[in-house]
C-alpha cells in the first residue's frame, strides 16, 4: 500500500482513468502548463498532450459549458474549478444544463462529467473565497455530490465518479491536499453513495464529511479521554445520502452530532438532521446538534475566522451535551 497525499491520490485516479479510457480529458484554468493551481494535474500535460489536458481562459461559465457539450457528444470530461468559489460563475451551466439535459432529452444524452475542485473555507481567504457549496449542489436533483477527506477515498471515489454516467460534483479541500494516507495498490474503486465509519464507537454518533472529518476525529479523541466513546461516520457522498449507515449508528448510540464546514441554515447538515429525526425518532435520547460555521459571512481576520469555523473544542461541547455530560 502506498502512502500518498490527497493531491497525488487524485492525480493517480485521473491518470489511471485517462490511460484506461481515451474519452477522459481534463479542462480548466492552469491545469496544463502550470501543472494545476494545487498541483493535482502535475505531469498530465506532458503525458497526455494538449488535446486531453486543456488550459482555458478565466471563464468558468464557458469551460463548464464546453465540458457539458463534450459530455453530450460522448466524451468524459473532468472540469477543474480552481476553487468551487468560481463555480458560482458557472452555476447556470451546472444547474440548468448538466443536471437536467439527461431528463430533458429523454435519455438521448448522458452527462458523464465530473466537476471537481476545493470547497469550503481554507485559511484567511475571506468571505468570497470561503464558500461551502454543499447546500447549493445538493439542493437540486440530477447530480451526485461527493466530498472526500482521505487519500484512499479521494482516489477510489474520483475513479468511480469519472466512470459514472451522471454529472458529479466532487469536493476537495485546499487545506487538505497535503494530507497523507495509505491508498490500496492496484484498481481501487469506492462506490458512490456509501458512508464509512472512520472511528467505531458506542456513545455518540458524529456525522461528518470533508474538512469536518479531522475536527470530528480530534473531538472524538478528546471525548474518549473523558470516557465517552464516539462513532465517527464520514458520509463521503452527500447526495445520495447513505441513510442506512447513519441510522444503524444512531440506533446504537441514541445520540447524534453533526460536524462540518458549512452554514447552519438549511443545507446538508439540516438534511441529515431531518432524516435522523424521522428515521430514528424513537431511538433519540437527545436533540441532534450541529457544529458548523456561525451564521456569518466568513471574516478575514484570523482570530475571528477561528471563532466561525468549528473546532474540536466546540464539537466536544456538543458531544458532551447530547450525552448529558455536565462540565
Amino acid at each position: 500500500m502506498a502512502t500518498l497525499q490527497i493531491r497525488e491520490a487524485l492525480r493517480h485516479a485521473i491518470d489511471e482513468e485517462m490511460a484506461r479510457d481515451e474519452r477522459v480529458f481534463v479542462i480548466g484554468e492552469e491545469v496544463g502548463h502550470y501543472d494545476g493551481a494545487y498541483k493535482v494535474t502535475e505531469g498530465l500535460l506532458a503525458k497526455y498532450g494538449e488535446r486531453r489536458v486543456v488550459d482555458t481562459p478565466i471563464a468558468e461559465a464557458g469551460f463548464a459549458g464546453v465540458g457539458i457539450g463534450a459530455a453530450m457528444a460522448g466524451l468524459r470530461p473532468i472540469v477543474e474549478f480552481m476553487t468551487f468559489n468560481f463555480s458560482a460563475v458557472a452555476f447556470d451551466q451546472i444547474l440548468n444544463n448538466a443536471a437536467k439535459l439527461r431528463q430533458l432529452s429523454n435519455g438521448q444524452f448522458t452527462l458523464p462529467i465530473v466537476f471537481r475542485g476545493p470547497n469550503a473555507a481554507a485559511h484567511m481567504l475571506s468571505s468570497t473565497h470561503s464558500q461551502a457549496f454543499e447546500s447549493f449542489y445538493c439542493g437540486f436533483p440530477g447530480v451526485k455530490v461527493v466530498s472526500v477527506a482521505t487519500p484512499a477515498d479521494a482516489k477510489g471515489l474520483l475513479k468511480s465518479a469519472i466512470r459514472d454516467d451522471n454529472p458529479i460534483i466532487f469536493f476537495e479541500s485546499e487545506v487538505m491536499y497535503s494530507v497523507k494516507g495509505e491508498v490500496p495498490d492496484g484498481e481501487h474503486l469506492i462506490p458512490i453513495g456509501k458512508a464509512e465509519i472512520k472511528r467505531p464507537g458506542s456513545g455518540v454518533t458524529v456525522v461528518t464529511w470533508g474538512q469536518g472529518l479531522a475536527i470530528a476525529l480530534a473531538a472524538a479523541e478528546l471525548a474518549q479521554a473523558e470516557g465517552l466513546s464516539c462513532e465517527v461516520i464520514d458520509l463521503r457522498t452527500l447526495r445520495p445520502l447513505d441513510d442506512d449507515a447513519v441510522v444503524a449508528s444512531v440506533r446504537k448510540t441514541n445520540r447524534c452530532v453533526l460536524v462540518y464546514h458549512g452554514w447552519p441554515y438549511g443545507g446538508t447538515g439540516a438534511e441529515v438532521s431531518d432524516r435522523v429525526m424521522r428515521l430514528c425518532f424513537d431511538d433519540l435520547d437527545a436533540p441532534i446538534l450541529r457544529v458548523c460555521y456561525e451564521d456569518l459571512n466568513m471574516p478575514y481576520a484570523e482570530n475571528l475566522e477561528h471563532l466561525v469555523i468549528p473546532s474540536p473544542a466546540r464539537a466536544l461541547e456538543a458531544i458532551r451535551e447530547v450525552a448529558y455530560r455536565q462540565h
Binding site: 447552519p264 425518532f281 424513537d282 450541529r290 451564521d295 459571512n297 448529558y324 455536565q326
Partner: protein, 417 residues
C-alpha cells in the same frame, strides 16, 4: 442562552420566600458561588449563592415581595441578550424568534438572514442541588422526555410521571428509565433522601377531593357488630359443591340490599337541605386497583338473586382492575360495602361516600372462642362496622339495620324469603 434564576427551596418546609436584599444589579458580572441575594424563608434569612456565571440581565423579583418556590427572580446571560426571551421560554410562552447569537464581530454589513437557533450552546443544565420534583411537568401537563425515554417507558409500561428526569429542565432520558427498569429508580431517590412530590392521577385527585369533602361535611358515627358466620360458611360450601361459586362478600352485599329494603331510612342521602330517600337499592362495591380504588355499582341489588349478584360483582371487579369500567357503572350507588377481610383486617371504619347515608366496613372471618348456650366453643365471627351520616340517621336506626343484617347472615336461608 440566558438562564432564568428561580427562587430556590432553602428549607424543607419552605413554600415561599422573599428577596430580603439583592447583592447584584443589572449589568453586574456574576461568578458561580457568588452571593447574589439574601432570601427570607419561613425559618430564617439565608444567603443565596449563584449557580450560574454571566452578566445580570434583569432582576425580576423586587425586594420584599413574597414569591412561590420556582418563581423567576433574575436572568443571567451574556451582555446584550434579551432577558424577555429567556423568561418567555422558561414560562412556556409562545415560541419567540431568538435573538441572533451574539458574536463579537463588528461587521459593517447587516446581520445575515437569521438562522433558526441551533441549540449549539448548552441550555445550562440546572445545577441546583435542590431535588427536582419527581417530574418537571410543564404548565400544559406534558412531561419533557426524549423520544427514546418515551419508547422505553411505554415498552415497560412505566408512567413517565413516576420517573425522575435528570436531563436539562428535568427531561426524562434513557438512563432515568433504565434506572427505574433496573428497580433502582425509587431506591436511588430514597438513598438521596429527597421527598418527591408525585404527579397525581385523576382518580387519586377525585378520591382526595371527595374524601376531604366527606370528612369535612359529614358528621360520622360508627357502629360495630360481630356476626356468627357458621351457617353462611356452610351455605357457601354447599353451593361450592354444586359448583356455584359465591363469596362471603356476595352474601354481605345481598344481606345489605335486603336489610335496606326493611330500613329505607338508610337508603337515603343529605342533599344540603333535606333528606332524600332513594327509589332503588344500588350497592357500591369498593374495589382496590393500582393507585386507588373504584366503586362499581350492583343495581337493584334487593331484587336480584345471589348468583346474579355474584356474577355482577365478579365481572365489575375484574373490569375495574383492568380499568375498563364505563363511568356510569361507577355512579349511582345508594349504599357501599367495603371489604378488607381478605387482607386479614378484622375491623375498620370507612368514610361515608357523599350521596349516601352509610357505608359498611367488613372485616375478616376469624375463628373465635365463643360462648354458645353457656358453653365455650369455636365459632366463626365476622366484624362489620357501619359508618353513618348523622344528619340522615341516628344510632338506633343504624343499630336496627345491623341487627337485621346479622339475622340474615346468621340465618342465610332468610335471604331467600
Amino acid at each position: 442562552m440566558a438562564t432564568v434564576v428561580q427562587l430556590p427551596r432553602l428549607s424543607d418546609t419552605m413554600e415561599e420566600g422573599v428577596i430580603a436584599k439583592w447583592h447584584i444589579a443589572p449589568g453586574d458580572k456574576v461568578k458561580r458561588g457568588q452571593l447574589i441575594a439574601e432570601i427570607e424563608t419561613d425559618k430564617a434569612t439565608m444567603e443565596f449563592e449563584s449557580f450560574d456565571a454571566g452578566t445580570v440581565l434583569e432582576l425580576v423579583a423586587p425586594e420584599g415581595k413574597t414569591l412561590p418556590i420556582g418563581a423567576p427572580i433574575a436572568v443571567i446571560g451574556s451582555p446584550g441578550e434579551d432577558a424577555k426571551v429567556a423568561l418567555r421560554a422558561e414560562t412556556g410562552g409562545p415560541a419567540v424568534a431568538p435573538t441572533p447569537p451574539h458574536v463579537p464581530v463588528s461587521v459593517g454589513a447587516p446581520t445575515p438572514a437569521q438562522a433558526p437557533p441551533l441549540a449549539m450552546r448548552s441550555p445550562a443544565v440546572d445545577p441546583s442541588p435542590v431535588a427536582h420534583p419527581a417530574t418537571a411537568m410543564r404548565d400544559d401537563g406534558r412531561i419533557p422526555a426524549s423520544p427514546l425515554a418515551r419508547r422505553l417507558a411505554r415498552e415497560h409500561d412505566l408512567p413517565l410521571s413516576e420517573i425522575t428526569g435528570s436531563g436539562p429542565r428535568g427531561r426524562v432520558i434513557k438512563t432515568d428509565v433504565e434506572l427505574v427498569i433496573a428497580g433502582r429508580g425509587p431506591a436511588a431517590a430514597a438513598s438521596a433522601a429527597v421527598d418527591t412530590p408525585l404527579q397525581l392521577s385523576q382518580m387519586r385527585k377525585a378520591i382526595a377531593r371527595r374524601m376531604s369533602q366527606a370528612n369535612a361535611e359529614i358528621p360520622h358515627f360508627y357502629l360495630t357488630i360481630a356476626i356468627n358466620m357458621g351457617r353462611a360458611i356452610a351455605l357457601r360450601d354447599e353451593l361450592a359443591q354444586a359448583e356455584i361459586k359465591i363469596s362471603y362478600n356476595d352474601l354481605v352485599v345481598m344481606g345489605c340490599a335486603r336489610a335496606l329494603r326493611q330500613h329505607p331510612e338508610l337508603n337515603a342521602y343529605w342533599n344540603g337541605e333535606t333528606i332524600v330517600r332513594r327509589g332503588t337499592v344500588a350497592i357500591g362495591v369498593a374495589v382496590a386497583v393500582d393507585d386507588g380504588l373504584v366503586v362499581p355499582v350492583v343495581r337493584n341489588a334487593d331484587a336480584i338473586g345471589l348468583r346474579e349478584i355474584a356474577v355482577a360483582v365478579k365481572d365489575l371487579g375484574t373490569r375495574a382492575r383492568e380499568r375498563r369500567l364505563a363511568p356510569p357503572e361507577m355512579t349511582g350507588s345508594t349504599f357501599t360495602v367495603s371489604n378488607l377481610g381478605m387482607f386479614g383486617v378484622e375491623e375498620f371504619s370507612a368514610v361515608v361516600n357523599p350521596g349516601e347515608a352509610a357505608i359498611l366496613a367488613v372485616g375478616a372471618i376469624t375463628q373465635d372462642a365463643v360462648v354458645e348456650d353457656g358453653k365455650l366453643a369455636v365459632g366463626h365471627r365476622m366484624r362489620v362496622t357501619l359508618s353513618c351520616d348523622h344528619r340522615v340517621t341516628d344510632g338506633a336506626s343504624g343499630a336496627r339495620f345491623l341487627a337485621t343484617l346479622r339475622g340474615l347472615l346468621e340465618h342465610p336461608l332468610r335471604l331467600l324469603a
